[in-house]
Symmetry: C2
Subunit: 345 residues, 2 copies
């Protein structure tokens, strides 16, 4: 239960919680992407039998949690706290799913940083001794996000070259106190620490250029974490960002280079690897489902298989608001990070 | 740093964090209410010199935090984590304020339960050893809430008898590890534990009847807490709810009576005490600012003065969404609780 605070924003756990399971649900476009075979459930129709996209999205959140419970051999009663959120106003996907799941629920809003925010808080609550098992989940949906943040799909508006496609996807990770001795899907994955991000704003005002809005926050959080811990980029197999996309990733590397940090080939962006470029997704994927399904469906299984041993998973959020935009505001960003390690048992 | 988990939803701290300061900012209507003299800053004009109400609301959030820092003799650098949220889509008040404050920030969405949610998570993070000092804040604004959730004020629509007036107000509590030995405004106030609520829904669909939507969640959380801890209502001087209002409070008492719990005269609702009934506020006050300013401006100073020694502060949130409402959904509620105690040093 003991923990070491290292500086102002980063924490390292002495007794890291285990990440025992990860579940994923994706839409049809994601299923046709390069990671298509990695996901647990793929939808043929993004309404999933519901009469609205919003109802489909909440169903994805709920069933991502249920799928993760199945993998862990747990029932909802086995989870002490559900932590999560989504991109919709009043996080209705998470709230309505939490109603069905009947678990004690702490709602978060971190835009696309939600998967990292939930794992970060969840790990602290387990390491701190407040819970044995916590479910962390996030979801996003292309059609609900377009309707809420940009233009109704029915308009058929053309996307700009800097735009990214919101991933239709939900992911859930189950964290457990290692003393629980759970079996689960992963035997050797631990959350070793994390870093809490700040809201950073370089003045981007284009709702179709999310990558540029988030890159400064990602760079800020990484720099803070390296400073706090005395580590270098080389201490991680990969620095994984959530959804900077192609353009945002370039900006991220440039901002780091300005501070004398060479990210080299250690940067991996979930938004860059979830779609083929021939899928017509402009700068890549985005949305909190993007990092949620890439982490749980692709990265964690690869770590469990021994392909790499330590990543800094930094989901990135564009704190965009149509109301604030209409009032002339820019789009601030935030990025939270969690250190995920494979440890030999 | 040691902590005791008592059951599935409640926690009791062995080394409770101190609540060292509380700050408040309110609008003109709140300033004319019965608690008017309790608040730190009262606005003469609810735009506070800004060109939109939304910008005024974020300014309130930011300055509530700055005021609390002043009282504690701290700078923003003295705070390890800022926790908070508001009622606006994408919690823009909190996000934009966090940008100005430059603190590591974890965004929450719990609707009107935000003040309790932030203190609950903040206390666990301090007790767990992840931070020395945390600022917890929440804000709401009558005019932004009406515009977003109901009807534009310019329409001049008449309110229904069950409606409540969203409080224009922001509050911030500073939590500190008791080992820090801070002076601050309060010398003897501690967060002794808490309870995490579930999303509960009895099918209310009227956006002007928030009290009824939240009462079932408040009753559920209180019952769970009493069950978890083996306590009775008599173990608390007051069970304080956030904003059930007159009608919701009656329903709360009835739901508890159905479970054999007599709340008697130990129930206090922030929404019932913040306005005079002659102020034409129908069923009372609401909004996350309602419980935030009542706690920080009125309840905590009275506790410090020795008027009472232990409360369960249960802010209540109506997880209402215009989008979900248009799609035929009901309004679920949630309530989180924190045990606040006065302890002789």
């Amino acid at each position: 239960m003991r923990t070491k605070c290292t500086g102002r924003s980063s924490v390292l756990f002495n007794n890291p919680p285990r990440l025992i399971c990860g579940s994923t649900i994706v839409g049809d476009v994601e299923a046709q992407g390069p990671l298509g075979s990695c996901f647990d459930i793929t939808l043929e129709d993004d309404t999933w039998g519901e009469d609205t996209w919003e109802k489909a999205e909440r169903k994805m959140f709920e069933h991502a949690v249920r799928k993760a419970l199945d993998k862990a051999g747990l029932t909802p009663m086995g989870i002490d706290i559900l932590l999560g959120g989504d991109l919709l106003n009043q996080i209705i996907s998470a709230n309505f799913a939490a109603r069905e799941l009947e678990m004690p629920f702490l709602g978060l809003y971190g835009a696309c940083s939600t998967m990292a925010e939930s794992i970060l808080i969840g790990s602290m609550l387990i390491d701190g001794g407040y819970a044995n098992r916590i479910a962390c989940a996030a979801t996003s949906h292309f059609s609900t996000a377009e309707r809420q943040y940009r233009l109704p799909l029915e308009m058929g508006a053309q996307s700009t070259p800097t735009s990214q496609r919101t991933v239709t996807g939900a992911g859930c990770s189950i964290l457990a106190d290692s003393a629980c001795g759970d079996n689960g899907q992963f035997s050797s994955i631990y959350v070793a620490g994390g870093v809490i991000g700040r809201v950073v704003d370089l003045g981007i005002t284009d709702a179709s250029n999310m990558g540029a809005a988030m890159a400064p926050a990602a760079a800020d959080t990484l720099k803070k974490h390296l400073f706090d811990t005395g580590r270098t980029v080389a201490d991680y197999d990969y620095i994984v960002t959530g959804d900077l996309g192609r353009f945002g990733s370039e900006l991220f590397a440039m901002l780091l280079a300005d501070s004398g940090i060479d990210i080299g080939n250690r940067h991996l962006d979930c938004g860059n690897i979830i779609f083929y470029s021939k899928q017509n997704v402009d700068c890549g994927g985005s949305g909190c489902g993007c990092s949620a399904v890439t982490l749980n469906g692709y990265l964690l299984p690869r770590m469990e298989a021994g392909d790499f041993n330590r990543i800094l998973f930094m989901a990135t959020g564009a704190l965009m608001s149509p109301t604030a935009g209409l009032q002339g505001d820019s789009i601030p960003g935030i990025a939270h990070g969690v250190i995920i390690e494979r440890r030999k048992n």
